[in-house]
């Protein structure tokens, strides 16, 4: 589904990603872990098409298409979804209105009819249960005055509505208490199928107790320096990142 080859990216001339290689297949969950500043969020942003980042080398193929050639909105319409670490507030625009605009543009791109108000609302009702989100929250301005947990739940709710092929969760666990974490993870797990894939970007192992990954990759200094199964995450939890840093840094010398 997704093939990343030798991806290099920089921001304002400073290289952040220095040759990422990753293969994600349908039905898989990949966790990207790593210490602060290792490039985890940059990878998520580059995949989604954020403009500040300049791709200097490499390629990303998503379902046979060159992802890096596409405008951010077209990546979304092709099925790439990014759950933001810091969801943005848009005053005066309700979540409902926002999602309806988004969903209908995605549908139009895919040659589907727009959903009318009734169908849209019933779809919303159905998906709301997934993340135990309240209707009242959805009629409020998007993310404005939402708590940290409400924002993240709203992200997963949007994901449920848009039914992406590839979901990238960027530090979705940050700022969540244990109950919210459980609700959010439940939502993600229920959305999993053999047709879609998930990349979970996280600093802590905690989230992976709930969203169990098939593969765990450790990112350090802009490269994937270690890959393994969920046991690798447990090992990291126990020993921290220092041993990996040492391994990599000594090899480089």
């Amino acid at each position: 589904m997704l093939t990343i080859k030798n991806l290099h990216a920089s921001i304002e001339g400073t290289p952040i990603l220095r040759g990422i290689n990753l293969e994600v297949k349908a039905g898989e969950v990949h966790a990207i872990m790593g210490p602060n500043g290792s490039g985890k969020s940059t990878l998520a942003s580059v995949l989604a098409g954020r403009e500040e980042y300049e791709v200097t080398e490499g390629e990303v193929i998503f379902q046979g298409k060159d992802l890096l050639e596409m405008a951010p909105e077209d990546r979304a319409r092709e099925g790439v979804f990014l759950a933001f670490q810091y969801p943005v507030e848009i005053p005066g625009v309700s979540s409902t209105n926002f999602l309806r605009t988004a969903l209908n543009q995605v549908r139009e791109y895919r040659g589907q009819e727009p959903l009318d108000a009734v169908k849209f609302l019933s779809l919303m009702k159905e998906k709301m249960k997934l993340v135990e989100i309240d209707q009242k929250l959805l009629s409020r301005s998007l993310n404005e005055g939402f708590s940290g947990g409400e924002k993240k739940r709203n992200e997963i709710f949007q994901m449920a509505m848009l039914e992406p092929t590839l979901s990238i969760l960027d530090e979705t666990d940050s700022g969540l208490d244990i109950d919210a974490l459980r609700i959010v993870s439940n939502g993600v797990n229920q959305l999993k199928s053999d047709k879609n894939a998930t990349i979970v970007v996280t600093h802590y192992q905690r989230l992976l107790d709930y969203i169990v990954p098939d593969y765990v990759h450790v990112l350090y200094k802009g490269r994937i320096v270690k890959s393994g199964t969920k046991e690798l995450a447990l090992e990291l939890e126990e020993k921290g990142y220092d041993w990996i840093k040492e391994e990599v840094d000594s090899a480089a010398v």
Partner: protein, 481 residues
């Protein structure tokens, strides 16, 4: 909201769409301005002597006045001798009903999306259509007549209801109030007149649609709304003009009189031709709008969505004379390319316990300049006056300007006046967030801007709100990215 999106989509790909003009045979005054011309206009309209005298008095005062220069707008001076002050579509005789109106004129309005045919009209809106200098048609007259509501062209009101016109004309905006008001008083040709009798709640929206068609012609319309005790009316005003290289002048006067417990809601969606991207052409919009809450517990509410005109100079105001009266001003002013707007309001608190609320949302893009200018004046006897003002500016790009000029003058120590102001830029983060959900940048901007202006758009009657949303998107097309 998919309907909105469809409309937005349709409109984001268009330029000023009302830029066409129609050739019809016109009855025109000679170019230039002098007492002869004023006599000519007055004679043409078969006006009574007192009105001619009133015009001449205004003209003589105007000649002694200076063009105001305090506003934050810059434009070449208007040569008032090069304009034409009267242009009317030629009709052999006055139409008695819509069936007698020249089909060509009705077609102009059809093209604007305003059907004057009563059967076809959407429920609940009566329209007075003004083309260049005269009112072409007024719909739903009979329905309104049964309630005692008078809604007709100004010229007709002068003939049919001279006592009312004489009593209220110039009572809110005196003929010598300011340079443009004086000019309007001298040469105004038509406009709308509306009278709501005591205790009547007008069952439909009353609407005037202004269009300038002829070249080199100034439009000087006059609107007078009188709401008697315990009455209510919601009034809408829309405007368009053809795309021309020269600047055209629009100098209107609107007067509103609200008696005790009366409520008047006045909404405008202004879409005069703004000029092209280089700032060539466009309408100079110098308008005086003022309402008086004459009676206790009366209320006047102005809502304006200003998207057009090359230059806008306009301050819809409220004189809160009656005790417990309320004045409101809700405004969205958008400027793009080379447009300039200096707009705001005045709230004059005279009565006790008077309240006013100002919500102004400026949006600037391109190389435009957008100024809010507002005055809150609390007079000596206005005990417990309250004002809340909120002035927000949204900037798009880094070549435009937003300016706020609030004036506050308090002469009563019990007054409570609050002023809040914010300036923000449309965030790349916001746009990227929308993009990431599949929304393209033009639509993202429309969504964000409409959200920003929502508090004001919510004040508009439903159909106008939809039109206003389309216009916002259209005006800002291509201003990001």
């Amino acid at each position: 909201m998919s309907k909105d999106n469809q409309i937005l989509e349709e409109f984001t790909s268009k330029e000023y769409e009302h830029g066409w003009s129609v050739n019809y045979e016109a009855d025109e005054a000679p170019i230039g301005l002098n007492e002869e011309i004023i006599r000519w206009i007055s004679a043409k309209k078969e006006e009574p002597e007192w009105l001619l005298e009133w015009r001449l008095k205004a003209f003589r005062t105007w000649q002694t006045m200076e063009e105001p220069e305090w506003a934050n707008i810059h434009y070449p001076k208007v040569d008032f001798q090069k304009l034409r002050y009267y242009s009317a579509p030629k009709q052999t005789k006055k139409p008695k009903s819509l069936n007698e109106v020249d089909p060509e004129l009705l077609a102009i309005y059809e093209r604007l999306g305003i059907s004057l045919n009563e059967q076809k009209r959407l429920q609940g809106i009566a329209v007075d259509a003004v083309l260049d200098s005269v009112s072409v048609a007024t719909t739903f007259k009979d329905t309104l007549g049964k309630l005692g509501i008078i809604f007709c062209s100004f010229s007709e009101a002068v003939k049919e209801h001279p006592e009312l016109v004489k009593k209220y004309l110039g009572s809110v905006v005196p003929m010598t109030d300011n340079y443009y008001a004086a000019l309007n008083s001298a040469v105004f040709s038509d406009g709308s007149f509306c009278y709501i009798p005591k205790g009547v709640r007008c069952p439909m929206e009353l609407s005037t649609y202004f269009r300038i068609n002829a070249a080199n012609t100034g439009q000087f319309e006059r609107t007078l709304i009188v709401a008697e005790d315990e009455s209510y009316v919601s009034y809408l005003e829309g405007c368009t003009a053809p795309q021309r290289d020269e600047n055209q002048l629009h100098a209107a006067v609107v007067e509103i009189y609200a008696a005790a417990h009366a409520e008047v809601k006045y909404s405008t969606v202004q879409n005069w031709f703004p000029g092209d991207k280089e700032g060539k052409g466009g309408i100079y919009n110098f308008v005086t709008k003022r309402g008086i809450c004459a009676g206790d517990h009366s209320k006047i509410s102005w809502t304006q969505v200003e998207t057009g005109s090359a230059v806008t100079w306009k301050y819809p105001s409220c004189i809160l004379k009656g005790d417990n009266s309320v004045g409101e001003f809700y405004s969205v002013a958008v400027t793009n390319n080379m447009q300039q707007a200096d707009t705001g309001t005045k709230m004059i608190h005279i009565g006790k316990n008077t309240k006013s609320r100002i919500v102004s949302k400026g949006i600037s893009a391109g190389k435009s300049q957008n100024s809010y200018r507002g005055q809150v004046h609390v007079m000596k006897r206005a005990t417990n006056a309250r004002n809340f003002s909120q002035c927000d500016s949204l900037l798009m790009g880094d070549r435009c300007g937003a300016h706020t000029f609030p004036y506050i003058d308090i002469q009563n120590p019990t007054a409570k006046v609050e002023h809040e102001a914010t300036t923000s830029k449309i965030g790349e983060d916001q746009i990227f967030y929308c993009n990431q959900r599949g929304i393209d940048t033009e639509d993202a901007v429309a969504l964000i801007v409409n959200g920003y202006a929502k508090e004001v758009l919510n004040q508009l009657p439903m159909e106008f709100a939809v039109e206003a949303q389309k216009l916002l998107a259209l005006t800002l097309e291509g201003s990001v990215g």
